[in-house]
């Protein structure tokens, strides 16, 4: 009898809408945010000591991402000027707001990569907005809970994530592998290892391309040898992130 009642409870939870049950999960993070973030810091310290040997400096990586993004912004601005000079033109990133947020927890279970963030302001925060970490796109806002100023971020490496990107002039979709890497399939041409991958601009969400990662491997597709599959490593160490910024593009007045 006991078993039946508990099974029923489990089934009710399972069939209840995710928007509702997701609030339980976020409430847990909200209530225990202090021990959770403290635990995260312990893990970060351990990882930093472990990686100290050969890993590149986070500051160096951040500057590299910043320069790559600046170049893309400049190119985008030039294109806009050439194309629409006579019309009501706007500057790239005009009206963009960057909502800073602290990372409370980073979750990985082999296929799902997610961050829970505590936003300092939630005004204008909605699902689908791009999230930056170390000047690079790390994911997209998947859930927003303005009442408790928390949001979930689906990382670009999550197995259910896909975002339009460009690598070496070729447009394609970046899909997460679930193991802190992502992939681009069915590319027409081979690309060099180390080539930058940029998230494509998207009206109302991203004004100019922003770096997502770099190509770490390029090999022929197993089904069609004339096409190429590319493995992409994120442009920042997502597991070590402590704060992020959500891009909020406000409509021009």
């Amino acid at each position: 009898m006991l078993f039946t009642w508990f099974m029923l409870t489990g089934l009710i939870l399972l069939f209840a809408p995710q928007e509702l049950t997701g609030k339980f999960q976020l409430a847990f993070v909200h209530i225990f945010r202090w021990p959770l973030s403290m635990g995260g810091s312990v893990a970060l310290t351990a990882r930093t000591q472990q990686l100290a040997g050969g890993a590149s400096q986070p500051g160096e990586r951040q500057y590299r991402n910043y320069i790559a993004n600046l170049q893309q912004t400049l190119d985008e601005q030039r294109r806009k000027f050439e194309k629409l000079y006579g019309l009501d033109n706007t500057f790239v990133w005009e009206g963009a707001d960057f909502a800073l947020a602290d990372v409370i927890t980073a979750t990985t279970d082999g296929s799902r990569n997610e961050l829970t963030i505590a936003c300092r302001k939630t005004d204008g925060l909605t699902k689908g907005q791009y999230v930056l970490g170390d000047e690079s796109v790390i994911g997209i806002v998947s859930e927003v809970f303005p009442q408790i100023a928390k949001a979930d971020v689906k990382l670009v490496t999550d197995s259910t994530s896909w975002i339009p990107v460009e690598v070496a002039g070729l447009k394609n979709i970046l899909k997460g592998n679930g193991d802190y890497t992502a992939r681009i399939e069915w590319l027409k041409n081979a690309v060099k290892v180390g080539e930058d991958v940029f998230a494509l601009k998207k009206a109302g969400l991203l004004d100019a391309p922003i770096i997502v990662g770099t190509v770490s491997r390029c090999e022929r597709n197993t089904q069609n040898a004339s096409l190429w599959d590319v493995t992409v490593e994120p442009a920042c160490d997502i597991q070590k992130l402590e704060d992020v910024a959500v891009i909020i593009i406000r409509p021009p007045k």
């Binding site: 995710q18 339980f24 847990f28 973030s37 979750t107 999550d158």
Partner: protein, 163 residues
């Protein structure tokens, strides 16, 4: 059964799982370990209640997997193990490690299958490898956590008894 102590232990394990361990690629599942512990060392009705409660806690910290699958899979396999323990005693460390490994595999697979079937959660290519690795780690670590957990819960683990 000291339920307050059990709740405190469960809370600590849930926070550790979601906080310290969440950023590691390969990690033991502390809630799976406490599930097997309760199935082995508590009486059957207590084991059923604690299995579903641990499953609920696993759901709470299991985001982005939606709520429900952990509670059902932990509840089913925790209850099965508790009944199995009435017939076969699992008191030596290798057998405990094996029990954690097997329950980890079965509950992990059932959790992802339920999430896939009911909630249309995608099954990624490496999900079964991830379940296998987590079960292995849990199997290695679990038996060493049993004595401190038993001390905290006031359970005598040396005494041989079947319920």
């Amino acid at each position: 059964m000291r339920w307050f102590r059990f709740a405190a232990l469960l809370l600590v394990f849930a926070i550790l799982q979601k906080g310290v361990l969440a950023r590691w690629d390969h990690k033991p599942d502390l809630l799976l370990i406490i599930l097997v512990f309760s199935a082995i060392y508590l009486n059957t009705s207590e084991a059923i209640i604690s299995s579903f409660t641990i499953g609920f806690a696993a759901d709470l910290v299991g985001s982005p997997i939606p709520m429900g699958p952990h509670m059902i899979s932990f509840g089913i396999f925790g209850t099965l193990l508790a009944y199995l323990h009435r017939v076969i005693a699992i008191r030596r460390m290798p057998y405990q490690a094996l029990a954690i490994f097997v329950i980890g595999l079965l509950s992990g697979v059932l959790t992802h299958v339920l999430a896939f079937l009911i909630k249309s959660e995608p099954l990624s290519r490496n999900i079964y490898a991830a379940v296998l690795v987590t079960s292995l780690y849990s199997g290695f670590v679990g038996p060493f956590l049993f004595p401190p957990a038993a001390w905290w819960m006031g359970v005598k683990i040396d005494r041989f008894r079947r319920r």
